[in-house]
Structure formats: C-alpha cells, structure tokens
Symmetry: D2
Subunit: 360 residues, 4 copies
Amino acid sequence: MAGNGLGTLFRFTTWGESHGPAIGVVVDGMPARLPLEEADIQAHLDRRRPGQSRYTTQRREPDQVKILSGVFGGLTTGSPISLLIENQDHRSKDYSDIAEKFRPGHADYTYWVKYGIRDYRGGGRSSARETACRVAAGALARKVLGPSVTVRGALVQMGPHSIDRTAWDWGEVERNPFFCPDAAAAAAWTDYLDHIRKNGSSIGAVVEVVASGLPAGLGEPLYDKLDGDLARALMTINAVKGVEIGNGFAAATLSGEDNADEMVPLADGRVGFLSNHAGGILGGISTGQDIVVRFAVKPTSSILTPRRTVDLHGRATEIVTKGRHDPCVGIRAVPVGEAMVACVLADHWLRYRAMGAAST
Amino acid sequence: MAGNGLGTLFRFTTWGESHGPAIGVVVDGMPARLPLEEADIQAHLDRRRPGQSRYTTQRREPDQVKILSGVFGGLTTGSPISLLIENQDHRSKDYSDIAEKFRPGHADYTYWVKYGIRDYRGGGRSSARETACRVAAGALARKVLGPSVTVRGALVQMGPHSIDRTAWDWGEVERNPFFCPDAAAAAAWTDYLDHIRKNGSSIGAVVEVVASGLPAGLGEPLYDKLDGDLARALMTINAVKGVEIGNGFAAATLSGEDNADEMVPLADGRVGFLSNHAGGILGGISTGQDIVVRFAVKPTSSILTPRRTVDLHGRATEIVTKGRHDPCVGIRAVPVGEAMVACVLADHWLRYRAMGAAST
Amino acid sequence: MAGNGLGTLFRFTTWGESHGPAIGVVVDGMPARLPLEEADIQAHLDRRRPGQSRYTTQRREPDQVKILSGVFGGLTTGSPISLLIENQDHRSKDYSDIAEKFRPGHADYTYWVKYGIRDYRGGGRSSARETACRVAAGALARKVLGPSVTVRGALVQMGPHSIDRTAWDWGEVERNPFFCPDAAAAAAWTDYLDHIRKNGSSIGAVVEVVASGLPAGLGEPLYDKLDGDLARALMTINAVKGVEIGNGFAAATLSGEDNADEMVPLADGRVGFLSNHAGGILGGISTGQDIVVRFAVKPTSSILTPRRTVDLHGRATEIVTKGRHDPCVGIRAVPVGEAMVACVLADHWLRYRAMGAAST
Amino acid sequence: MAGNGLGTLFRFTTWGESHGPAIGVVVDGMPARLPLEEADIQAHLDRRRPGQSRYTTQRREPDQVKILSGVFGGLTTGSPISLLIENQDHRSKDYSDIAEKFRPGHADYTYWVKYGIRDYRGGGRSSARETACRVAAGALARKVLGPSVTVRGALVQMGPHSIDRTAWDWGEVERNPFFCPDAAAAAAWTDYLDHIRKNGSSIGAVVEVVASGLPAGLGEPLYDKLDGDLARALMTINAVKGVEIGNGFAAATLSGEDNADEMVPLADGRVGFLSNHAGGILGGISTGQDIVVRFAVKPTSSILTPRRTVDLHGRATEIVTKGRHDPCVGIRAVPVGEAMVACVLADHWLRYRAMGAAST
C-alpha cells in the first residue's frame, strides 16, 4: 500500500483507526528552530472537533494532541514530529447492527473487497476521524508558511443553498456552527439542517478555501503543478467528489475574453491583476494573487432511511445506520480543507526555496 | 524542480518545448513481454494531432513517434521505453508580437516570475504541445491494462451547451470533430464554434472520461486514493480548472438517500449496484463499476480581442494573439484526458497486484 | 528534511529521540491478513536490547513494543501499523558534562551545524536508540517475506580479529554475547573486549547478514538495484562506514576467471551455481542464491580517553565521555543489520510481485 | 519497474540499450539560468569514452551528446533537460556466439529470469554503455554545485596492486590511461594489465572519489543520509561490489581513540579537524571536510577462458566471450563514480537549500 503519506519535502504520514487506542501523524520535513507547542495544534483541532453543535456527530472526543518527538525547548529540531491523539469515546456497540452489512455509498464494501478483512467498529481506517490527523499536520504546515500567509475556509453551499458572495464576511465564519461567511445564509441553514437532521437524512455541501500572502512562483510544472497537488490533496478527504480552482467548472462556459485576468503595473512596480478568474494559479504556478479552491462534499451515507444492500455473505438485505453521524459532513470538512491546502503550500514553499535560490 | 514525472510503479517523465527540436517521454515501469509497436502509439497520437479540422490549431505536425528503447523483437523488455516526436512546424515568427508581453490567463507570466527566463517561441514548456507526450504514455498504459479495460472520453459540454446524455452514443464520438457523443449537439456546436473561431475568440468545455472493465480494489487509501490520483493527473493538463468524480459537484445538492448506490446480489454471485453516483470509486478504491470522471477546460487565452497587460519591463500595454490557436482547446483535451486516466489506472493496477497477491 | 522513511511499497518512517517520552515507527505498505501480534516484534527487539551483557550499554530499557493501529483480530488490515516504544531509562544527567562540547567522530557537531539546535540529552535523534525502530520494522518485513525466507546476521570480525569461516555455526550465534558464529573466536573476543571495556575504549567490527530462500528476479535495475538499496539501507545504520556484497572489496583483487560463478543444470531442471562470489546478486537482481552482505561498524566515539575538541562557542577544549556506552557497537548492529536487509527485501518482494505477474 | 531514475530534487532518468539506436538521460530538477552547452557535457563524456587506449574496449563511439530540451539561449530554463547519444558502433555479430548462453558473473541470467526476454546484443540494458548517461547527468550536477565544488576520482588499486598514497598527485591522473594518481604505480600497471589483456583475462580495481568545497550540513538523516545515498548511487554502477566512506572497512579495526577526528578552532573562527577518518560525513551529514568514498569494481565476466555455464534451454555448456572488452572495467568507472557522487551532492545541495533557509 504505502499510500498513507503526502508531500515531497514537507511530508506527513497518518495512522490509526476510529476505534483503536489512538490515531496519529508523523510529520517529516519540518524545518528546525520554529516555535511549536501543543496549543498551536490544539487550536485547529478544536475547530474540527465533533460534538460542538447539534449539527455534527455527538461522539465526544477531547482530541487532545501530544507531541512525542521533534521539539526541544519549545523549538522544532528538524527531526520528525510525532503527534498522538487518543481515542476515548469509541462506543463500538453503536455499530453492531451494521457489522455484517455494507452501507451503500460508504467505503465499507471496497475495503472489504480490497483487504478481505472487516473492522466493523465504525469505519476503521476510512472513518472521518482520520481527518483530525490532517488538521494536526496542517497546523505544522502553517508554521512553515509563517504568519504572513493565511489559509481560511468557509462553507459556501449547503445542499442547493449557496451563500450570497457579496455578503462574505470572514469574521462571520467563526460566529456560526457552519463556518458560513454569510450571516443570512447561516440563519437559513439552521432550519434547513435541523429538518434534515431530525429526518435522519444527510446533505452535501461545498467548501471554499482561500490562501493569501503567498509569493508568485510556487508550483513545479508539469506534473507537480500547484493546482494538481491541491486537487489530489483535497480529493483524498473523505466524501469529497469534486475540486475546482478559481472559476473552476464555470470556466467551461466562458469566452477567452471573459476568462482572462487582465494585468496592470502597480504603483510599487509589481504586477497587478484586474480579476482572479484563475484562482491564483496559471500554468500550475502561483501568480501571487489569492489561491482560491473549492471542493464538493457528498452527503454521508450513514442515514436512517432504509437502503437496499448486501451483507458479507452476499445476501440481499436492508440497512439503517443508527449511530451518531453528521447531517452535513461538509461542515467539519472546512478545517480539514484548510489543513490540506496548508500542507500542499508548505511542501511547495520548501520546494520553491530549493530551486529559487539557484536562480539568484 | 523534478516535477515532470507521474506515477509510482508505472512512471513516465516528459520533456521538450513547443519550438525545440523534439519532445518526448520516458516510460519507466512497463512490464516485460507486452507486444508494442509504434503503430499502437501512433493511433492515439493521431486522434490528438492538430490541424485535422478547422476547430483546432492549424499548426501542421505529423507527430510521428519513434521508439528508441525498451522494445526488442516486438515485445517490451522491462527496460524504460523512450519515445521521441520531432517538432517540424515551429514557425517562431508567429510569436514575435508577443515575445515581450504576457498573455493574460496564460502561463507566460508565472514561468517568467519563477524561472527568470523567457522562451517566447510559443509557450515553450507550457505549450499544449507537451500533451502529445501524455497521449503517448497513455497508449503504453493501455497495454498494461490489457484489452479487457477500455478508457474512452467525450466532450460533454462546449461553453454553455451541454449534450443530451440520453442521446449518448460512443460510436458518434469518432464521427464528428468534437469527440461529441450526441449527434444533435455536435451539429449545433458546428455553427456555434465557427462563430467563435471567426471572431478570434475562444470558449471553454467539459470532458468526460469513462473507464470500464476494471476490478474492484484499485486505489491506495488514504493519500494515494484512486480519485485523488485521477484528480491530480487531470488537473495537470493545460487549461484544466476543475475535476469531479461521479456526481461530482452535483453531490453537494443531494441527500444521503439520493446519493447512495444501493447494492444487490447478482445472479453470478457478485455484487451489483443500482446506480453509479459514486463514479466507480468509494473510499478511494474502485468498486468495479465504471470509473467516471469529468474535467473543465478553460478557454485558451490566445485570442484576437485586445486585452490589457504588462510587458517584460513592467510597462502597461495591450496584447492580441494572432498565431494559430484552438478556438476550443477542450476538444483536443479528450484524448489527453483518456491518456491521463489510463496512466493512473495502470499505475494502480501494478500497485494492486503488488499488494493483492499478499492476501491470497 | 523528509528523510526519515525508507522503501517504495513496504515503507516505514521512524521518529523519536533517545531522551524523549517515546520512539516509534509507522509501517505503511503492510499487506492485509497477515497474522501479527506484539510478541512477533518483541522477540526481535529483545535481541537488540541493551543491558543484556557487560559488552553493551548498561542503559536499562524493557523496549516493550505496543501496536497502536493496523491490526484487527490478530491480522493485519492493510492499514498503516504504528508501533510505539516508551523510553524509560533516560538519565539525562549522564550527559551534563558533554552538553556544550562536541564528541569527535560523533554526529553532535554536524547536527548542530545543520539544525542550529542542540538536544544534548544523549544523542537525541542521532542516538543508536533509534535502531530499535528499525528492528521493529524488520519484524514486520519478515512477515511479508514469509517463513520460507530467513534473514540471519553474525559478527564476523571484532577489531583486527576475524572469525574462522570454516567454523561457522549458526547455532553458535545465539549462544554467545557477540552474535559470533565461531565458538573459538567468541571465546577469544571475551578477553579482548573486556580489556577494551575496562580501558574505557571502544573497537570497530564487521557484521555479515545472509538471506536465504528468495527467488531469482528481485531488484529493479538500474537505480533501484537490490544491492544499491541494500547498500543504502545498511549505510544509514549508525556508525556504519562500508558495505559490500559477496566478495566485495576482495573482488578488486580477482581475475575474471576466479570471480565467475560457474553455472550448471540441476537435477530438478533449475540452474545451479558452483560458487557465490556474487553474493546472490548479478546486475542488481537476485540470482536465487543466498544474498550475502557485510558492513563495517566504526568504534563508538564515546570513550574515556580525552580527545581535543571545541565547544558550542568555538573554544578549544577536551572531552571525556563518561556515560554508559557500548565498547563494541557492532555487536548490537547485528539484529539491526538483519532488519534493514529484511525491509529492503520485503520492499523488493512487493515490487517484484507488481511486475512479475505481468510477465506470465 | 520504475527503477531507472535517481534523486529527489535533482532527479535523472536514463534509458537505452547498448545496441539500440541511441541512449539518453532526462534530468528533471535543473535550476534555471545556469549556463549550459553541449561542450560542458562532452568534456566529461570524452573521459569515459571507450577506445582511447588499449586498456579499454575497442568499441568506437564518438559519444556525441545532443541537448534536446531545457536550454534556451545558452541558459537552462528550469525545464527538464533531455540528452541523447546515438549508438554508432554496434557490431552485433560479436555477440552471436553467446546469444543463447549465460556468461557466469554477468547479468545475462538474472535479466532472463526476471524479464523472460533476451536481448543478446551485447548486454542490452545491463551494458556498461549506460554509464555514459550517468556521466552526462553528472556534468549537469556539477553545474548545480558550481565552480567552488570539485569532484575528482582516481584508480587507487588494480588487482592486488595499490598505489602509494604519499605519492598522490591529482595532475598525474590525467597523464596516464588508468586515472592513477601515482606515476610509479601507473608505470607498473602498464605491464601488469598488458599481460592480463593478452591472456584474455580481466581484473578488478578500487576507485576513490573526493569531493571538495562543500559546506557542512548536507544530508538528511536518518534514511537519506549523505553516505547512504552515496553508497546506493555507487553500488548501482555496473560491476561495483563494495562501497566505503572515509576509513571504511579499516574502521572496523580501529579503537575509538584512533578513529576520532579531533577538532580545533581555526584562526578564522571556523572549526577545523586534525584528521578525516570520517571521510567528511558524520551522522549522515557533511562536516565540511572533503567527502572521501571508495568503491570496488569486480573484473568483467567477459573473458576468453572457457567457463562452465548453461544455455537458454537449461543445458550444460561452456562459454568463451570473444568480443571487445575492458581488461579492467574499473578504469572507465572513474569518471562514472565522479558523476554519481556529483549527482548525489547536487540533490542534497538542493535539499539543503530547501531546509537551510528556514533556519535563518
């Protein structure tokens, strides 16, 4: 397999299952002498943590991170940083009903076919619990990028309901349980999602992540393009089914005139752009504008409505998933998406430095 | 840099610029004793070749491929296969007007910022000409996958005009210059694109690629998921701005009930699905259904309409690109998209074999 | 950095410092459904464990391994396996004398120059304590290789004293504290090493590792040759300064006639060899004979004899290392060398399967 | 396979067989704006070229390199550099006698077992002809390292005859056909090797490569240590059976006192060493002293003395290799060894830059 890691120079590897003793991540490629303490990571984990509103799974996890290596006297040492999060609330009984059945739309079936072994305790390795490790890695990536770079995410669509982009307020994102940047949309979503939740149903969503403060020149054409690496990293988040950069799929409907980001000289001698259809990336290389990516999250397949399925023995049956689940997993995908973007950018930042200095 | 290759076990590296003496690709990871001759590759290159209709660039290139290594007596030897395509029609004079200006929406600017050197002769490394190498690599990937796997692409949207999916006919794809599977849409697109072409404008498109005949079990969670690798590979094609799997962004609007692919036992003992919202991938692993991916291609930025820009010296100016360009680069992206999908699948097929046998 | 992992398909990443709370290793690429329990790993760790004789450091560590992920119901799941070993006996005070001085011949100085931070507590990341993680990974690699493959090591030279190869007895290896296959040599070494130990000195050694039971065909020319990967893996063990395969450096003195391993048909139709000068590898590919590798281990630089050195402030000084050290670190390198060989072979075994089946 | 490339940031991939139309190498990871022309590469190829004395194979090859990409206006562009060398003198008839027999000690047999296909025309991919591509890549690596770094090699032992190290003169290396730094040894080797050559025999050798001018701090512990990567790269050269750093195997015989490189402050504030037993590497990281590596080259297995072997059908037979062969392949391994060292150093130089700047 050997598929549980990401990155070339800033590389992390995650491990652990939803119902084992712990989960964790090893970050290999952290530069030395960066200040780092557990609180830096915990702040991000707390944003992803379940059980903070009625709109996310009621599994209670403190998600307390421990640094086991790579930090000495409050500074990174250049050695790998091992982070560990213990699992505490793993009520396996919740899953007894589904131990022998495959949830349609879930990785249950494909893990069974691929590995021939069934860890029925709540998704095992395919559980969204693993995304805590992504968030932890992302916190370290932010340290690599430094304070001049910000990576922020928001929920911009829940089911068919999009936000009003003219009402975008980053401050609002932290004031509602949806990471929604539009206060009016957040209010409307409250009722909408309550309805879905009470029906034991679920709904999809779209997340947008914006990275600001990066220089032009990040990305390694042709196959390690910045957008290619972002697409891969975001698509590997549980339940993600689509990724787009800048105008994304809407670019298909535009003419060359309308899609071009015209350029002008700025007063300070730098180059400015009159628009950002490109989402901050041209030819796989950052332009210096904001990096703008969006990804679609499908509705969770753990729902109360009975669905036709088969069991481990190939027999027809029905399934209802009664456990504690997110009516809209897209919500908690916001900090996860930020983390993935931060990790990809940190990796390319180090790669950029390797090559950049050669040129000067 | 070291970003010009793709794949873990089936790995290819491309090289060459649009106006150098040649372009090429080295495929490292081709299993031994597969029959291979130049005609196998040429057939796919001919589908991508420019100048075949008035809807693609009039650059005349025979794109004749030569096998320089890795084949002996008509069979692959297990050694790397080096493929070379000479550049013949590189009329550099076409580009003299733009040698000192950046095309808005083009990689001109970011290459300049990153590398500090300007190969103004038609895009250099960032030219779509490189995609011939992708198609060549894809032809070898198909050999790895064998005849039971088919990878086919089609243009499903041009500008705002989508096909009628109920009219889908794979046979139609090879009968019109758009790779369009819907005869009526193809007819309508003829007038539409003629109009755009005559105006010196350009338009975006959406391409869909379908892979059939694969077993369940391909893909290496969590970061080498099959959909993650597909997203990356497709996003690295020139001008691609979005990638989706199965329902893709539409999944954001669906409920868990509607998005689930219900499962039933088949008469032959295998497991069947009543739908394919997932696009053949769950948890990053193939389900055995068709793999369905789509990607959005932006309109080319080489257009006749003047756009504001800056020159190499940072001065404000305007630009008009007069050369020979595709009014809809999405058309020729169809065989390129097929090739990328085939390469990713071949790589995962070899990885699957590495791990699969361990289990039995 | 991102240099703390090894392997392509069977890949492991280690983390941890000698005086942190724990050390560990994540193995990514373990095939599913292999039986695995902690005792399988512990048996190998116990062979490397310090404090078992007066010839190894008196640091007392139970080196008790815990499996944190990737195993369910006694079988591997195909997910990454996280192993953790707590540090218990980390008497930092031993190191107070040397906190500000560089030990000549030790990594103290280069870590300081590279990372600009000093974890003076006993070597930190560069400590031989990390090799416990290698041994743990090696135990998993043996599971991948299966019971038909054996990987065994022995100390064949201590200082200037080589064994008598005609007296080689694998059974003897486990009966003396030196992993020496020659009972007479082991007896002689006892006095020799006692003398060195009492003088606070140290001595180098040569370790030989032999792998039996592998098929012909492992290794991926030209740059992932089996011997290239073995050389790298062994050279990365602390204190190793040389690696050789088969005849090794002695091959430089031989004629082509004398170095050739003549081949003969065997009764069972297979091909036999009349000698094994090649050490089981030709052209980077296994021949099916025993793989034979040797590596040289330098004497530890932690000694009682005063040596001239500089301190953190660049001032001239002298250093004496009083802590608990191995008079011959080559002894404990035996199980470590075995582990490295097993890991490389497991990786190539999986790669071989990926490609091999294609050919049939 | 996918084993035909080397390096993380400075990465090259070679292709081609001894008797195909051409061989070549693609270097991916060349920083932009470095001056490069074919003559820079040719100078190194000419040192490796066969047929320059009676002590190397009489195959006549001009080994004229062509740059096919990645250079514009005399400067590197940051895009991959494709280098091609045509094969001209491929007299396949020389090999007709051995088309169906395996040369003992040669890769013939293992390639056959692994790939199941026989390119009998002179070694195919396993031929030493591939080393021309290594030398070409090495010429580019030197450009990355810049003029302040020198990488020089010499033959220090031929068969049992070692040089007198006190007579070492780098200038002498280019004055005799053996790359021998000791004029007296070179004179003695002339008669010695003539005798071997006339008898149709062959002999092994030891090559030493020294790199000067590197900063301290290169190398990425623990598994991408500088010495580990050097060992791998050198071991993958045809016929190499051993690699050692600094004292190497001799370190096994030394005490800790004798092996320590004592350190002293230098007048300029830097740290100096009183010896270089370590060969310029401690803990896998460069110390700033010269990097010193040696490798053993076995005698070629293509000899006139009949040896017992088997044929493709498994039948016992004898073999005599009549073609044009090097009586001491170690001679031409000198520039190849230099190239491998330069490539590894260039890769680590880029990696160092990626991480180093983070610390400052």
